[in-house]
C-alpha cells in the first residue's frame, strides 16, 4: 500500500492543535502557488527528492547495497553536490568496510535514479488498483506538504515537489496509455483529484495517443478514433435511455431521501420481484398462450357458464375455461408453418423460467452475500455508527433532524448496553434462556397449530365441493373461506410474534429481528406446506381436472392475500398512526416495518411460483398486485410513517431477504413443481399432458421421436448419457463436493491469513508509537544538544554541498527522518531507506549507553535487535551484511574512553552527550580544520545537525582508527 501519506507530519502536537484548521486555506492549493518559492541548495533538493521518492525504490536501494564499494564511491564523487552529506565518507580510499553500509547506499537514491526513464517499474504494470492508490498517495502527500503554512516548517522545496509531481504524473499517464479506452476512462474517473487535474491527465494521454497514432497510418487511425468516439457517444446515449426507462426512479429517490436506505430496500425488493413477474409473464405468454391464440385452439366455454363478476375474486367458474389455467391448454401438436408441440412448449417454458429465476436469484444472492457478509465483521457498531451511518441521500429537513435524534439515542443505547452486559448473573441468564425457550415453543406450536387447522378446514371445504361445471354463486363464494383464513392467520399471528418479542429480552437488536423473521418464515412455510400436501394428495385424486382446481386455489390465495396486504397497511400503518398521534401519543408515529413487509412479499412470490405450473398466466395478477402495492405502500409510508428509529444494517438485511426468497420460497416451489411433473399423474381429460403417466414422459416421447432422425442423435445421446444416467449425477455430485471442500479449505486459510495480517498491523502500530515516543524524547532533549553543539563544523558543511538552508526547523526534519524510517518499516520498500541510518544509529547508541549504565531498557534492545535483523535480511552481500554491527562495535570501542563522562546521565541524554562528544572529537581530530558553521546566526538545523553529528562521529572514528 504505497498510498500512505508520506509527507504528513507525524508530530502529535500538530494534530492536537485546533488552530491548524485555519491552514486548510492552503490545503488544496495547487503546487505552483507555493509562496515560499526560493532557490534551495541543490543538495537539499536532492535530499527531499530522495525522501519523497523513497516509496517504491526498493529495487534501486537493493541494487545500491549490492554495489561494489569502489563503484559506489565513484558514483558518489561523480554526483558530487547532488548527493547527501554522506559523501565525504566515501572519498577515503582506504575506508574500512563499514563505510559501505546499507544506509549509506540507500542515500544514493537521488535525482539520477529519479529521472531515470525506466522508473516506470515503480508502478506495477497491473495498475488498476495501484495507480489510484499511488495517485492518492501523491495527492495526499501534496496536501500535507502544504497543509502547514508556516515557513519554518516548510522543508521541502518547491522544485522537488514539482519534480516529484511531474514524475508521478508521467507514470500515471504512461499507465493510462497502456490500457484500453474503457479502462482508461475508468482509470481517469477513479482518480481522486479535482476535475482540472483529471482533465489535464486526460489531455496528456490523448495527446500521446494521437501522436503515437500519427506515426502509423494516420488516416486509418483518424477513422478508428472517430468511430470509437462515435461508439462511445452512442454508448453514453444508450446509458441515458436506460436511465430514462428505469422504473420509479424519482419515487425511489424521494423515499430514500426521506426514509433512508433501509426502507428503500423494501421498495427495491418489490421492484425486482415485479420485474421477475413481468419476465415470467412475457415468457409464458409468448411461448404458451400466443400459440394457442394463433392457431385458434381456444378452449370451449360451456354455454351455461357466464361471466358473473365474482370470478375476479374466486377465479372459478368462467375463468376455469380460459387460458388462465392449465386445463384450458390443448395437448395437440399445432400444425402450421412449423410444428409446434404444445406439450413440449409447456414443459420447457416452465422449466426454463424456473431455471432462469433460480440462476438470477443465486447470482444476486451470491454477490450480495459476498458484499455484505464475507467482508463485514460483527462489530459492536461504535465506529460504524459514527463514521458510516450517515445517509447522505437524506435531504429532508425533518428527516435529518430525526436522524440526528435517532443516532444520538442509538449511540447512548450502545454505551448503556456495553455497561449493562457486564452485570448478568447466571440466574438472569437462565431466566432469559427460559423465556426464549418458551417463546420459541409457543410460536412453533402456534405455527403448526395453524397449519393443521387449515388442513382440516380445507378437507371440510373439499367435501362440500362437487366436481361439476356450474357452481352457484354462494358455492363459489364459499371457496373463499380457506384463503381468507390463511391470510387472516398470516396477518394476525405475526402480531403475536411481535408481542413475544416485547417480553423477550434480547441482548442485541439484530438477534431480535432474526428471531422474528425465523418465526414468521416457519409460520408461512408450514401453512403453505400443509396446503401443498393437501393439493398433491387429496385434490389430485378427486377432481377430473385437478391442476385447474389447484390453480384456482392459488389464484384465490393470491387475490385474498392482496386484499389483506392492503388491509395490513391500513391497520398496521394508518390506524396506528391515528392512534399514535390522536389517542395515545405515547406510542408515537409508527415506523415502517421492513421485515414484516418483505416477508409478505416473499410469501406472495412463493404463491406465484407454485402457481406457475397450474396457472401460467398467474404472473399477470401478480404484476397487477405488485403495481398497486407499490403505490399503496408509498402513499401509506409518506402519510403515516416516520423514518426508522434505529439505523439498522440494511445491506445485511437485504442479503437475508434474498436468501429467504431463495431458500424456503424458491426451492420449495421448485421442488413442488418438480414433484408434480415427475410423480403425479396429469388429469386424464384436460390440459396439455392428458393421457400421460407423468409430465416428464413428454420428454421421453420426444426423444423416442428424435431417435428416428439422424441429425439429432446428439440430443438422444445427451438424454441417455446425461439426463437419465445415475453415474453422471454421481460424478457431478462428487466433483461439486470436492470443489466445495477445496474452497472451504481456502477460506479457512484466508481467515488465518487475515488474523495474521491484523496482528501485523497492530504490531506495526506498536512499532510506530514506540518510535514516536523515542522521537519525542529526542526532540525534548534537543535544546540541550543545540546549546552544546555550537561548535562549528565548516568542513562537513562544505563537503556536504553548500550553504546553510536557513529555514529548516529541526522538528520537521526529525519528523521527516522518522517518516522515512517508517516508510522503511512499512515493509513495502527497502528497509534501508535513506534516513533510518540516522535513527538506527541513534538506536544503536542507546543500548550501548544503557548497557554501560545497566539501566535495562528492554524495548530498546528489542528494537535494536529488530533493526539489526532487518539489516541482515535486506543486505545481500555477506561482507556488507553486518557493517552496521561493525559500526556499532567500532563505536563502542571508540566510546569506551568516554565512559566516565556518560555515567551520570540518563540513557537518552547519554546519546546526546555521545553525539556531542563525537563531534567534539571530530573537531579535535580535524585539528586545524576549519570550524563547521553551526553558529546560531545561520540557524543550524538540528536534524541535519544530527546527521552531521553522525558524520562527524564517523569521521572522528576514521581518524581515531588512522591514529592507531
Amino acid at each position: 500500500m504505497t498510498h500512505y501519506s508520506n509527507g504528513s507530519f507525524y508530530n502529535p502536537a500538530y494534530h492536537d492543535s485546533e488552530t491548524l484548521e485555519l491552514d486548510r486555506r492552503s490545503a488544496r492549493m495547487p503546487h505552483h502557488s507555493n509562496p515560499y518559492a526560493q532557490e534551495e541548495p541543490p543538495w537539499q533538493a536532492g535530499r527531499t527528492t530522495a525522501f519523497s521518492t523513497v516509496m517504491g525504490q526498493r529495487g534501486h536501494a537493493d541494487h545500491g547495497s549490492r554495489m561494489d564499494p569502489w563503484e559506489g564511491r565513484q558514483e558518489d564523487s561523480r554526483r558530487g553536490q547532488g548527493s547527501l552529506p554522506m559523501g565525504p565518507l566515501s572519498t577515503h580510499p582506504q575506508s574500512p568496510p563499514w563505510q559501505q553500509t546499507p544506509h549509506r547506499s540507500s542515500f544514493q537514491i537521488d535525482s539520477t535514479a529519479y529521472h531515470d526513464a525506466s522508473t516506470l517499474s515503480r508502478f506495477p504494470t497491473t495498475f488498476s488498483a495501484n495507480m489510484t492508490m499511488g495517485l492518492r498517495g501523491m495527492t495526499m502527500r501534496r496536501m500535507s506538504m502544504f497543509a502547514n503554512g508556516d515557513p519554518s516548517h516548510l522543508s521541502i522545496t518547491e522544485v522537488a515537489i514539482q519534480n516529484e509531481l511531474e514524475h508521478e504524473e508521467q507514470n500515471l499517464v504512461k499507465d493510462l496509455i497502456a490500457c484500453s479506452t474503457k479502462d482508461r476512462i475508468h482509470g481517469i474517473r477513479k482518480l481522486p483529484m479535482s476535475y482540472e487535474e483529471k482533465k489535464h491527465i486526460r489531455s496528456q494521454v490523448l495527446a500521446f495517443k494521437s501522436s503515437k497514432k500519427s506515426r502509423h497510418l494516420s488516416c486509418f487511425a483518424d477513422c478508428s478514433e472517430n468511430v470509437s468516439l462515435s461508439f462511445r457517444r452512442c454508448g453514453s446515449s444508450m446509458a441515458l435511455a436506460r436511465q430514462t426507462l428505469a422504473l420509479w426512479q424519482g419515487t425511489m429517490k424521494e423515499i430514500g431521501g426521506r426514509f433512508g436506505t433501509s426502507v428503500l430496500s423494501y421498495f427495491l425488493f418489490l421492484k425486482s420481484l415485479l420485474m421477475l413477474n413481468i419476465f415470467s409473464f412475457l415468457v409464458n405468454f409468448a411461448f404458451i398462450t400466443i400459440p394457442m391464440f394463433a392457431y385458434n385452439h381456444l378452449p370451449q366455454i360451456p354455454a351455461n357458464v357466464t361471466f358473473r363478476g365474482l370470478e375476479l375474486l374466486t377465479g372459478a367458474g368462467y375463468f376455469n375455461y380460459t387460458v388462465m389455467y392449465y386445463g384450458a391448454y390443448s395437448p395437440e401438436t399445432i400444425m402450421g408453418l412449423l410444428d409446434y408441440n404444445m406439450q413440449l412448449a409447456y414443459f420447457f417454458t416452465i422449466a426454463a423460467y424456473m431455471g432462469l429465476c433460480g440462476a438470477s436469484i443465486i447470482y444476486s444472492m451470491a454477490s450480495s452475500f459476498k458484499m455484505n457478509y464475507v467482508l463485514s465483521d460483527p462489530m459492536a457498531g461504535g465506529s460504524w455508527q459514527l463514521l458510516c451511518s450517515w445517509d447522505f441521500s437524506v435531504t429532508n429537513e425533518k428527516a435529518v433532524r430525526q436522524r440526528k435524534n435517532n443516532l444520538r439515542i442509538q449511540l447512548k443505547e450502545t454505551m448503556s448496553e456495553k455497561i449493562q452486559r457486564k452485570g448478568l448473573t447466571p440466574a438472569e441468564k437462565m431466566k432469559h434462556f427460559g423465556i426464549h425457550l418458551g417463546a420459541w415453543f409457543i410460536s412453533t406450536s402456534l405455527a403448526f397449530g395453524c397449519g393443521s387447522a387449515i388442513y382440516f378446514l380445507s378437507q371440510y371445504e373439499q367435501q362440500q365441493t362437487a366436481d361439476k361445471d356450474d357452481w352457484s354463486l354462494q358455492h363459489e363464494a364459499e371457496t373463499l373461506l380457506v384463503p381468507f383464513v390463511v391470510s387472516l392467520v398470516n396477518l394476525v399471528v405475526p402480531l403475536f410474534y411481535s408481542l413475544f418479542n416485547k417480553f423477550e429480552l434480547y441482548s442485541n437488536q439484530r438477534r431480535q429481528i432474526y428471531a422474528l423473521i425465523v418465526r414468521n418464515v416457519i409460520l408461512k412455510m408450514s401453512i403453505l406446506g400443509i396446503l401443498c400436501y393437501f393439493w398433491m394428495n387429496e385434490v389430485a385424486n378427486k377432481f377430473s381436472c385437478w391442476e385447474s382446481m389447484v390453480g384456482q386455489a392459488l389464484y384465490r390465495l393470491v387475490i385474498v392475500d392482496f386484499f389483506f396486504m392492503m388491509l395490513g397497511s391500513f391497520f398496521g400503518e394508518f390506524l396506528s398512526n391515528v392512534i399514535g398521534t390522536r389517542l395515545i401519543p405515547r406510542l408515537g408515529v409508527p415506523e415502517f416495518d421492513v421485515a414484516r413487509n418483505v416477508l409478505d412479499l416473499i410469501y406472495a412470490q412463493t404463491l406465484a411460483w407454485i402457481g406457475i405450473y397450474f396457472s401460467p398466466l398467474l404472473p399477470v395478477i401478480q404484476i397487477f398486485k405488485f403495481l398497486v402495492l407499490f403505490y399503496l405502500k408509498k402513499v401509506s409510508l409518506m402519510q403515516n410513517c416516520q423514518p426508522p428509529l434505529r439505523v439498522g444494517r440494511a445491506a445485511q438485511m437485504k442479503t437475508i431477504f434474498i436468501a429467504l426468497l431463495f431458500f424456503p420460497s424458491f426451492v420449495g416451489s421448485l421442488s413442488l413443481v418438480a414433484y408434480t411433473s415427475w410423480s403425479l399423474t396429469p388429469s386424464k381429460h384436460c390440459g396439455p399432458f392428458q393421457g400421460l403417466n407423468n409430465t416428464f414422459s413428454v420428454v421421453e416421447l420426444w426423444i423416442t421421436d428424435l431417435e428416428g432422425i439422424s441429425a439429432s442423435t446428439w440430443v438422444v445421446w445427451i438424454y441417455h448419457k446425461v439426463v437419465r444416467s445415475e453415474i453422471f449425477y454421481f460424478l457431478v455430485t462428487i466433483i461439486i463436493l470436492f470443489i466445495t471442500f477445496i474452497f472451504w479449505q481456502v477460506t479457512q486459510g484466508r481467515k488465518l491469513l487475515i488474523i495474521l495480517l491484523r496482528q501485523q498491523i497492530v504490531n506495526e502500530g506498536k512499532d510506530k508509537t514506540f518510535l514516536l515516543e523515542k522521537l519525542q524524547t529526542l526532540q525534548k532533549s534537543q535544546p540541550t544538544q543545540q546549546s552544546r553543539s555550537r561548535i562549528p563544523k565548516q568542513q562537513t558543511k562544505r563537503r556536504s554541498g553548500g550553504s546553510s538552508t536557513g529555514v529548516r526547523s529541526n522538528s520537521n526534519a526529525m519528523v521527516q527522518t522518522f517518516l522515512a524510517g517508517e516508510q522503511g518499516s512499512r515493509g513495502n520498500y527497502s528497509r534501508d531507506v535513506p534516513v533510518p541510518s540516522d535513527i538506527s544509529t541513534s538506536f544503536q547508541r542507546i543500548p550501548i549507553a544503557s548497557d554501560r549504565q545497566s539501566s535495562s531498557d528492554a524495548p530498546i534492545l528489542a528494537m535494536q535487535g529488530r533493526q539489526r535483523a532487518e539489516v541482515h535480511n535486506y543486505s545481500t552481500s555477506s561482507t556488507l551484511a553486518n557493517p552496521l554491527v561493525q559500526v556499532m562495535q567500532a563505536r563502542q570501542e571508540h566510546d569506551r574512553p568516554s565512559d566516565g563522562m556518560d555515567d551520570g546521565s540518563s540513557s537518552m541524554s547519554g546519546i546526546m552527550m555521545q553525539v556531542m562528544e563525537a563531534r567534539k572529537r571530530a573537531d579535535e581530530g580535524d585539528g586545524m580544520q576549519a570550524r563547521p558553521p553551526a553558529t546560531e546566526s545561520s540557524v543550524p538545523t538540528t536534524s541535519s545537525a544530527l546527521i552531521q553529528a553522525m558524520l562527524a562521529r564517523q569521521q572522528a572514528q576514521n581518524e581515531y582508527d588512522d591514529g592507531y
Binding site: 500538530y14 429517490k253 461504535g382 435529518v400 440526528k404 444520538r408 502500530g765 508509537t769
Partner: protein, 191 residues
C-alpha cells in the same frame, strides 16, 4: 434545455464525460442546476471557459446540501480553493463522486476527507468529536462524547496510533457494506 452546442463544445462535453460518471444529458442538467443558483453570474456560454466561481453560501443552499450536517465540509473538500467556493468543474466533480456510479474506493477517499476536519490526513479525536457533534446536534454530554470517540478509536484504529488513517477508515468501510449507498446524493429528484 436550450441549445446544447452553445454551452459546451463537443470536446468539452467529451472531457466531462470521460472525467465524471455522468452522461451528456446529466452534465447539462447539472450545468443548469449550477446556473440556477446564480443566473446572473453564470453565463450560458461555457465554450471559452469563463472563470466563474459560486460562493459557498449559494452552493450550501442547494437542496442536497441544505440539510446535510456536513455541507460545509463537503463544499470545502470538493472546491479547488478549499473554502467551499465552487467552479462548475468542482460542482460536477462533487456530484460525480457522490453519484451512484462512483466506486467505493473513491467514495471512501472523499468521505475520509470530509471527516478529516483539520486536513491533516488523519481522523484524530478532535475530528471525531466534531463529527459526533454534527451528527447529534451537540446533545451528548462531554463524557458521552468522549466515550463514543474512545470506542470508535478502539474499534477502528488498527495500528493503535491514536488516530485513523485512510487505511483504518477503509477497514471500517469494508465492514459496512451499505456505505456505498449511504454516501450518495442524487440530483435527479430535484428536477
Amino acid at each position: 434545455m436550450g441549445n446544447k452546442q452553445t454551452i459546451f463544445t463537443a470536446q468539452q462535453l467529451d472531457a466531462y464525460q470521460d472525467c465524471t460518471y455522468f452522461t451528456r444529458k446529466e452534465i447539462l442538467r447539472l450545468f443548469f442546476r449550477y446556473r440556477d443558483l446564480a443566473p446572473q453570474l453564470v453565463p450560458l456560454d461555457y465554450t471559452d471557459q469563463p472563470d466563474v466561481k459560486l460562493p459557498y453560501e449559494l452552493i450550501g443552499s442547494m437542496p442536497e446540501l441544505k440539510d446535510n450536517p456536513f455541507r460545509q465540509r463537503i463544499a470545502e473538500v470538493f472546491s479547488e480553493d478549499g473554502e467551499g467556493n465552487m467552479t462548475l468543474d468542482d460542482f460536477l466533480d462533487m456530484f460525480s463522486v457522490l453519484s451512484e456510479m462512483a466506486p467505493r474506493d473513491l467514495k471512501a477517499y472523499y468521505a475520509f476527507k470530509i471527516y478529516d476536519f483539520n486536513n491533516d490526513d488523519f481522523i484524530c479525536k478532535l475530528d471525531l468529536v466534531k463529527t459526533l457533534n454534527k451528527l447529534t446536534r451537540n446533545e451528548l454530554t462531554e463524557d458521552e462524547v468522549r466515550m463514543v470517540c474512545e470506542k470508535v478509536m478502539d474499534e477502528a484504529d488498527m495500528d493503535n496510533d491514536g488516530r485513523l488513517s485512510l487505511e483504518d477508515f477503509q477497514h471500517v468501510i469494508v465492514r459496512a457494506p451499505e456505505f456505498l449507498r449511504l454516501l450518495l446524493f442524487d440530483f435527479h429528484k430535484h428536477n
